[in-house]
Amino acid sequence: MGRWFRSWSMDPPLVAGVLILSIFGIAMIYSAGVTISPQRVVQVAWIRQLAWFGIALGVFTVVSRIPTGWLEWVAVPAYVMSLVLLAVTLVIGTGVGTAAGTKSSIAIAGFRFQPAEVAKLATVLVLARYLASRGSAPASLRDMVAPGFLAAVPLGLVLLQPDLGTAQAFVGILFATLFWAGAPVSLLLLLASPVAALILAFDTRVWSVYIVAVMGALYLLRYRLFLYESAAVLLTNFAAGTIARPLWDSMPPYQQNRILVYLDPQVDPRESGYHIIQSKIAIGNGGMWGKGFTDGTQKRYDFLPEQHTDFIFSVVGEELGFVGVILALLVFAWVMARLVRLAADAEDPFAGIVLMGIFGAWLVHIFVNVGMTVGVVPITGIPLPFVSYGGSFLLMSWVAVALAVRVGHDDERVTG
């Protein structure tokens, strides 16, 4: 009993934070089911989530005992296996609910799970192992090719499902781990520069200014970069700028609309713009103090779509108001800051990078999910950790907590 409890008490601030979030999530899922014409699936979702929460706690106690060495050892096989699973998913996978058109999950013995969730953690582990074993910080763009590749393969497979939301998490993982491994911010910016070129290419003048700025940056960094690296950066920027238009044209209209409605939801208020419009109305309707738990009218009268999954935070906004939103965000900030703190305290580079990998993934999830409910970022299907309904997602989030607790406190264990 004592040993069981010790795994819980290893990091009370972190565990308390995610416990609060998980219970809060179950409560909000319950509220999401309280509508004027209830759908059975949504109505009982909170019970399923509660069951998964129990399972997740059990898994947590087990995983949090795995020695860090085992984790390092298991990183590569786990990574390879998750890639295989992702590939298999592309063939036999199915989608659920609004993601019905995608191949994102596989059903095993009646349970659905999303290999992408496993792949995220496996990628964190494999990146941590690779970067930690290098011994020195990635100091050039060339040093970033291998980690970039490790992240790009699962990212690409997830994009093929297609699941743009989850794919973004791999970007977060890559940049967070590179940064923690010591990569200079300037190089990371250069690494990200083609994405900016892709977006800015829609205005030729802005793009021209941007390219000049990139060239200037390359000049300033000329002592830290090989010539071919500079050339590669410039080329990819040009390439991104060139393919932007054809890429846009090749996108299906619904994807184009998702981007267009981000700029102005009213271009398609009934289809693509509907989610963001109704979500903002719900949140604005909440005002400072909210309509009260279960009493949000937007949700109650079915105007709010996906209210128990991707748009659960709109329910928070409508029913608990600005005050509730800020409190929820503060708990998230608390959990995230705790991860950073653990990373900063970790003597073991592997431990620190794993913690930051988890941090990177969650940061993308939280920022993109919460941001899309208020129109800060475009809508992509991405759940909110611990709060959105989704069994395997909750489970894997708790596995991530277990890893964080495990690696974050390895030093104490060794000494204690």
């Binding site: 004027i36 903002k280 604005g284 909440g286 005002g287 079915d302 965000l329 900030a333 940061l363 208020v374």
Partner: protein, 648 residues
């Protein structure tokens, strides 16, 4: 540089904290903007998202008759309403609704146009759905989320077709009406049901129209109504004002009952005590209940293309040559001017005609002999009135008759009325016919022929003056309503002159009179038959129009009811029109005096069904009343079947 040195880690952690803080800050600001700065806007949007205002239609005012009987009121009915939605969506729902409510298909184009025009407003697709239709719709409720069934007051006309022309009808206000001055005020707006036609519904629209209320319901994202909303106060509908008419509904229904189905014509009954309207009827009529909730195109077309013109109120709009009943006007004007005394004989006795430029015939080929004014009225002698007209003179006849009101409207409280056609002066002939009139025109005019066309209502007003003291106010249907616009009728006649004219009229129904078979057991029936010539009759295409302009009252007393009957193509007035007048007057007077009503009323009816009635002796005695100004010398033994006299 050791990337894993604690200080380096701390510095990196600071950067990460910074990024975390920045992103959480961006999110917080996003929520602040929507939840604190612009919350009111979003709150309103959320309300309009789920709240739909529904009109609570106000019941129109109830219309009562003079005895407190209901002419028009409201009963609970069902209305099928489409909740506001984009036009396309409403039209799609409409199409599917037509499968359940087949009646809608006939009005599809109209409803589609309305659905597209009235964005943001509920659309009433059927204002008077039957219980069966509603039941069928309820069964398939789930298929029609945007459809709402509500109970609403529905207009009912107890008298049905009997009151069609009197009441007019109701219908949804159209664009033209909405733009008119009449509706340029509260609460008129699209979709409102208003009075139409030329009846009371339109005339007193502003009184009868209530003020609609509003009720809010909550709808879900699929526009299904999920309940009433109590947060915003429901505003109750304010019913329209009730009005009490001078109409006698039972008399109105009785007239509808006795007027021959196949005939066209009009009936007007006035109360001589105040000039108010007791009954106003035009045949054929229409049932105003057909219009409630929207009339279907086919019925509407049928009503409007029927050659007998059921939608045309002949009592106030139709104009007919007044014929013999107008002779009373000539007589009255002569007496008024003092050119004739009641007992005066004309220089030339009637020999069947009169030489004036050409030979002017009397209707009676054998002639009436040397008679006085009373006998001339009784026998409708043309020759007497030719000479009387010449005494008055064309100029004076025109100006006097115009002064009396034969060129204008009566000013009845209805939305439309045709003015009488009568030349205001000699220039009329030049304008209309292109020649100057000579004095001989007065001969035609004095016997009710020539350029003279009057509405049945106008003739009723004129005879009301004869039934009173020579004056008659503008006829009113709603006596408590706004003051009349028309000028009252004014004849300056001595009591003796009036008594003479009335006695002449009474003898028309007395033994030997042309309308004797219309005489009644209990009442003195006065009247004048008339046979109007129209263009159709002159060309032999139709029978002549039959008039009977009459009044009735207790024996020896003042007339208590004036009834005018015009039967188009009715032949002679005594055969077709007079019995209707007699039966209507008898019905009204019996009820007024608390005497049971019988369906066998006139002498003619008694003779045909039960033989000569016992009360006939009274009539014969009455014929020799000492008050007789002249000696009619009636035959005491009546012919078993007196030939109906030619009207003219």
């Amino acid at each position: 540089m050791n990337v894993n040195h604690p200080l380096v880690r701390q510095r990196r952690a600071q950067v990460v904290y910074g990024v975390l803080l920045a992103l959480i800050g961006v999110l917080g600001l996003g929520f602040f903007r929507i939840q604190v700065l612009r919350s009111n806007t979003y709150r309103l949007t959320a309300e309009s998202n789920r709240l739909r205002p529904l009109d609570l239609p106000a019941p129109r005012g109830t219309v009562f008759d003079r005895n407190g009987r209901v002419i028009a009121d409201n009963v609970p009915g069902y209305a099928v309403t489409l909740l506001p939605a984009p036009g396309d969506s409403m039209v799609a729902t409409l199409r599917r609704l037509e499968e359940v409510l087949p009646g809608l298909a006939a009005r599809h184009d109209q409803l589609e146009a309305q659905a597209r025009a009235s964005y943001g407003q509920a659309l009433v697709v059927d204002g008077d759905a039957s219980y069966e239709e509603v039941a069928a719709l309820e069964e398939r409720r789930a298929e029609f989320p945007g459809v709402y069934i509500e109970t609403r007051p529905v207009r009912r006309y107890a008298g049905g077709a009997a009151v069609g022309h009197l009441m007019g009808y109701i219908g949804e206000i159209d664009g033209e009406e909405l733009a008119s001055d009449f509706y340029d005020r509260e609460p008129y707006e699209q979709g409102l049901v208003v009075g139409k036609g030329v009846g009371i519904e339109r005339q007193y629209e502003h009184l009868l129209q209530g003020r609609k209320g509003v009720r809010y319901v909550e709808v879900d994202a699929r526009r299904r109504i999920v309940g009433d909303f109590s947060g915003i106060e429901t505003r109750l509908a304010v019913p329209g004002q009730d009005i009490h008419l001078s109409i006698d509904l039972e008399l109105q229904e009785w007239i509808h009952h006795i007027f021959p189905d196949s005939m066209m014509g009009a009936v007007v009954a006035l109360d001589p005590t105040d000039g108010n309207v007791l009954a106003l009827y035009s045949a054929p009529s229409f049932d105003p209940n057909l219009f409630v909730g929207g009339i279907d195109t086919e019925t509407w077309r049928a009503l409007n293309t029927d050659p007998r013109r059921p939608m045309y109120n002949k009592a106030i709009l139709g104009r007919f040559a007044p014929a013999s009943p107008f002779k009373l006007a000539t007589a009255a004007i002569g007496l008024d001017l003092g050119v004739v005394r009641p007992d005066e004989h004309m220089p030339q006795p009637c020999t069947g005609g009169f030489q004036y430029g050409r030979y002017w015939r009397c209707w009676k080929v054998g002639g009436h002999g040397d008679i006085d004014l009373l006998e001339a009225v009784q026998h409708s002698c043309d020759v007497y009135f030719y000479q009387l007209g010449l005494r008055i003179g064309l100029q004076r006849l025109l100006s006097e008759a115009t002064e009396l009101g034969f060129s204008t409207t009566c000013g009845i409280d209805l939305p439309a009325e045709s003015p009488g056609i009568f030349p205001r002066g000699p220039e009329y002939w030049e304008q209309v016919f292109g020649y100057a009139p000579n004095e001989s025109e007065v001969l035609s005019l004095s016997i009710g022929q020539g350029p003279n066309s009057q509405t049945p209502l106008k003739m009723a007003q004129f005879y009301t003056a004869l039934a009173r003291d020579g004056s008659a106010p503008a006829p009113r249907i709603y006596p408590d309503g706004p003051a009349p616009e028309g000028d009252p009728w004014r004849l300056d006649l001595s009591d003796e002159a009036l008594a003479t004219l009335r006695e002449g009229l009474r003898r028309v129904t007395a033994p030997g009179g042309t309308a004797h078979m219309a005489s009644l057991e209990l009442w003195d029936l006065y009247g004048k038959t008339g046979t109007g010539e129209s263009n159709l009759t002159q060309s032999g295409l139709a029978d002549t129009d039959a008039w009977f302009v009459g009044m009735a009252g207790p024996r020896g007393g003042d007339p208590e009811v004036v009834v005018v009957v015009l039967v188009q193509s009715g032949g002679g007035g005594s055969a077709t029109a007079a019995p209707i007048v007699a039966k209507a007057a008898d019905f009204y007077l019996r009820r007024k005096h608390g005497i049971p009503v019988d369906t066998i009323q006139t002498l003619g009816e008694h003779v045909r069904t039960r033989g000569w009635p016992s009360w006939y002796r009274t009539i014969l005695d009455d014929a020799e009343r000492p008050t007789d100004p002249g000696s009619a010398g009636a035959d005491p033994v009546p012919a078993p079947t007196p030939a109906p006299g030619a009207g003219g």
